[in-house]
């Protein structure tokens, strides 16, 4: 399997993150803002998986032994076993759940905004200032 450097993966997620950020900053429609947030979260999730793939697994159970053991490997060194760590993907899993939760509450707010504030414009909700 040709190896994909972590660096390019991270750059990709950074770019996606940037695009998401532009969406949040530029758009005035609350729906688009929520969409952009989803993009940003997805980018972060991707970054985690990319990072996870770079680290071979010394079986997590060993790593997570009872007491916090001293660091087994020096920073950035290879490890002998070949299975990539699952931690990154577990984190992706959690990011996913967070994104879902956040969207559900977000859309509930969007519905209330539509009914109470009349429009989906983010600036309509800037009554509190000073």
């Amino acid at each position: 399997m040709a190896s994909i450097s972590v660096e390019s993966g991270l750059i990709l997620s950074a770019v996606l993150f940037g695009l998401g950020l532009i969406g949040v900053l530029a758009r005035r429609n609350i729906l688009f803002i929520l969409l952009s947030i989803e993009i940003m979260l997805n980018a972060a999730g991707l970054a985690f998986v990319v990072a996870g793939s770079a680290w071979q697994d010394e079986s997590p159970t060993v790593a997570a032994s009872a007491a916090a053991t001293e660091p087994t490997t020096s920073v950035g060194g290879y490890k002998e076993s070949t299975v990539p760590q699952a931690d990154g993907q577990v984190m992706f899993f959690f990011v996913l759940t967070m994104a879902a939760a956040e969207v559900s509450v977000g859309l509930a707010l969007v519905l209330r905004m539509h009914s109470q504030a009349g429009s989906l414009d983010a600036d309509a909700l800037s009554r509190m200032r000073g």
Binding site: E7, G18, L21, N29, L46, F92
Partner: protein
Amino acid sequence: METVFYISAAIAVLSTLMVVTRRNAVHALLYLIVSLLAVAVILFVLGGPMVAVLEVIVYAGAIMVLFVFVIIVLNIGHEAVRQERQWLRPGNWIGPALLTGVLAAELVYILAGRAAGVASGEQVSPAALGASLFGPYVLGVEMASLLLLAALVGAYHLGRRTTTRQEQGSDGIDKR
């Protein structure tokens, strides 16, 4: 494998760009789904079959469907597009674009040439993922469930449309 990664990366970036610039919400949604699928491919390439599938099912599937559902409920079809026109004047792109450009440049500058290590390309089987999830991360899963519960209760409370008499009464006052 290398080429697949780069192709799908390009697709993801392009479609995300389109998502952000579209006026019509539905078009944006569709572009987003394309972008998510591209990311799923990348995830698969990076050795996360389970994660890729999850991305497709949960992210592209569930969350996007939610958005579609909301768009339908609020039927913000074409007149929203007219509204978007005066909301999306090119003027207000400059600020965010500039800011994010600088931020992305900083990150890329950091990442270029420093992130050691190469993706091993080995697959993390769903079994391994499951074992890890319900092994050391079992507490994490519990917490994730709490997170979803919180979202559930929150969404339920906020979304309830049955406004009782008090609320109508109080609605007037609060339209400050």
